[in-house]
């Protein structure tokens, strides 16, 4: 692209607005967070972030988020495949319904999920007698996180699947591969970057999710308490520094995770493009 700085107007004003806005809303609050956390001594910090209760909450937060993201990756691949490859009645309606978790307030999702899976709920009446507790349990957290993150993988995989050349599959079939071999050895590798991105987005979203989980989990310390809930309960005790310390752990962990997955994604992309 040519240098348009001398021709087009508005560089100074648009950049000033952008920088001012980002400073007020993102940078200064982030600095406040880290400053507050660094006001604790090392010992206090460890005491705040490494209690048994906090460790249980981290484990649950990251564990439930990872499981939900894994489930969503499988479901998302299946949904994307069906939507791109097959024709069936009401396909467009189903396609657009997949975005509902983006549009539906998480509090509503939490409210309705908690009511569906209790003993006399629509789905709970069948599941609870089988010993499946889909409400006020760890399973409930995974379920609602699966709902909240469902669209990410579908929407990242769908366009890639659409743009794949039919020739790839034809060549593979001509060379004697079965359909399953073609899928696992030709199609799936081409979809890896999109799948990884989708997984990462679902995972990142699930780590921070609060609104829906707070309704369905029951929020029992050590058992069904996730890290964001722990932050809120520390805040309600006016333990601001402790709450901040836990928030920093959560923040650093999700930034690091995103960084790693970003790197992974770039590597797969590079490997893919060099293979072509």
């Amino acid at each position: 692209m040519m240098n348009t700085r001398r021709i087009l107007p508005g560089m100074r004003i648009s950049l000033s607005i952008t920088l001012f806005y980002l400073s007020i809303l993102v940078l200064i609050p982030l600095i406040a967070l880290f400053t507050k956390a660094s006001s604790l001594t090392g010992e206090q910090l460890v005491k705040a972030v490494w209690t048994e209760r906090a460790r249980a909450a981290y484990l649950l937060t990251f564990g439930a988020a990872a499981i939900a993201a894994a489930i969503d990756t499988v479901l998302g691949l299946l949904l994307a495949w069906v939507l791109v490859r097959y024709e069936f009645p009401f396909k467009r309606v189903f396609d657009s319904l997949i975005d509902l978790p983006f549009a539906l307030p998480t509090a509503v999702a939490g409210l309705v999920y908690s009511s569906l899976y209790v003993k006399n709920g629509w789905l709970g009446q069948f599941l609870v007698p089988l010993g499946i507790q889909g409400a006020y349990s760890r399973l409930a957290i995974v379920l609602v996180l699966t709902f909240v993150g469902l669209p990410f993988v579908v929407r990242t995989v769908q366009p890639v699947l659409e743009s794949l050349d039919a020739e790839l599959e034809e060549a593979s079939a001509c060379l004697g591969a079965t359909r399953w071999q073609t899928f696992t050895m030709v199609l799936l590798p081409a979809l890896y970057p999109a799948l990884i991105t989708g997984f990462a987005l679902t995972f990142a979203r699930a780590i921070g999710e609060y609104g829906s989980v707070v309704f369905v989990s029951g929020n029992m310390p050590f058992k069904t308490e996730i890290a964001p809930v722990l932050i809120v309960s520390r805040l309600e005790e006016f333990a601001y520094a402790e709450a901040t310390a836990i928030a920093v752990v959560l923040l650093v962990a999700s930034f690091a995770m995103l960084g790693v997955i970003n790197l992974l994604e770039r590597r797969t992309q590079a490997a893919n493009s060099s293979a072509h």
Partner: protein, 311 residues
């Protein structure tokens, strides 16, 4: 400029836009046909997933809201002054946040797509950052600044300015959480459209303002509207961040999602589901507008791509 078209499809992730050049050559190629039994069982599974995870919950919201009849439903929604206030508050906070993010989104997209300057990539990353921050942490950050014990707390109290546990904090956190939406939608759209028409307008003697309103805005209007819709939906439903800074003062700082939670805690399920049904209806309307806009933005991008493809 074919490289710019490529950027559209490669840019970031949930740009929600279907690929610009979506050549549908997937049907009727023998090597892509799956056996019928596989086709039907996969379609069946997909329908079951969407049915169980999405359709059943939505139907259940309305069923439980209307369980005692429309009269009771109406009373639940309008008879309680705290609920009425929460509806009013949501419709006050959301437009302000969305408007702020529109101004920011247009400015940021203009700066990023029309000029090259050091730190441009860093700026894009900064814009995406709110997506990676838990809403609860977002709320906490603003509390650390404006709360009683916050960095600006004493000064604000001296000057009798209330931010935390009041309307300004609700607006601030909602704006933070929805900050990336408009910018993220506009950046790929403006990148794809390119600056040729704008440069032409300027060289023909238009001033910046005329160029912006007569060339840029008509070009990006559907993409912009799409960003607004997404931003609006998220702002309306925001819970965690608002929960932390609101202080839960019924009739004062409870937005609709917070009201849903409070009624739920008070074991007032019909009331809770009544408010939830209103939010669900808004989500369904959002989905509908989104579908319409997706078609329009696709057109916008196609029109932008065509003259370039022919040169």
């Amino acid at each position: 400029m074919p490289t710019e078209i490529e950027q559209v499809t490669m840019h970031g992730v949930p740009s929600h836009l279907p690929p610009v050049v979506s050549v549908s050559k997937t049907h009727g190629r023998a090597a892509q046909q799956d056996p019928a039994w596989l086709r039907y069982s996969l379609i069946g599974t997909a329908m079951a997933i969407i049915g169980l995870l999405i359709i059943v919950p939505v139907v259940s919201v309305f069923y439980q809201a209307f369980a005692a009849g429309p009269g009771v439903y109406w009373k639940n929604l309008t008879g309680d002054s705290d609920t009425r206030h929460s509806i009013y508050l949501t419709f006050l906070v959301v437009p302000v946040s969305v408007a702020a993010n529109v101004v920011f989104g247009v400015a940021a997209a203009w700066a990023i797509t029309r000029f090259r300057f050091p730190g441009r990539t860093l700026l894009t990353t900064l814009i995406d950052l709110p997506f990676a921050i838990s809403p609860v942490v977002a709320g906490l950050m603003f509390l650390l600044l404006f709360g009683m014990q916050g960095y600006f707390g004493p000064w604000l109290r001296e000057h009798h300015i209330k931010i935390a546990f009041a309307l300004p904090a609700l607006i601030l956190v909602t704006t933070f959480v929805t900050l990336p939406f408009v910018a993220r939608e506009l950046i790929p759209v403006m990148e794809a459209i390119g600056s040729d028409e704008e440069i032409a307008a300027i060289s023909l003697g238009a001033n910046g303002w005329q160029m912006f309103w007569r060339v840029t805005v008509p070009n990006i209007k559907w993409g912009l509207l799409y960003g607004v819709i997404l931003c609006n939906a998220r702002a309306m439903g925001e819970f965690g961040a608002v929960y932390v800074v609101s202080g839960h003062i019924a009739g004062q700082t409870d937005t609709m999602p917070l009201r849903v939670e409070k009624l739920f805690q008070e074991y007032n399920n019909p009331g809770s589901f009544a408010v939830a049904s209103l939010l669900t209806s808004l989500a369904l309307v959002t989905l509908f507008i989104k579908i319409v806009l997706e078609r329009k933005t696709q057109q916008e991008l196609k029109e932008a791509a065509e003259p370039q493809a022919s040169t």
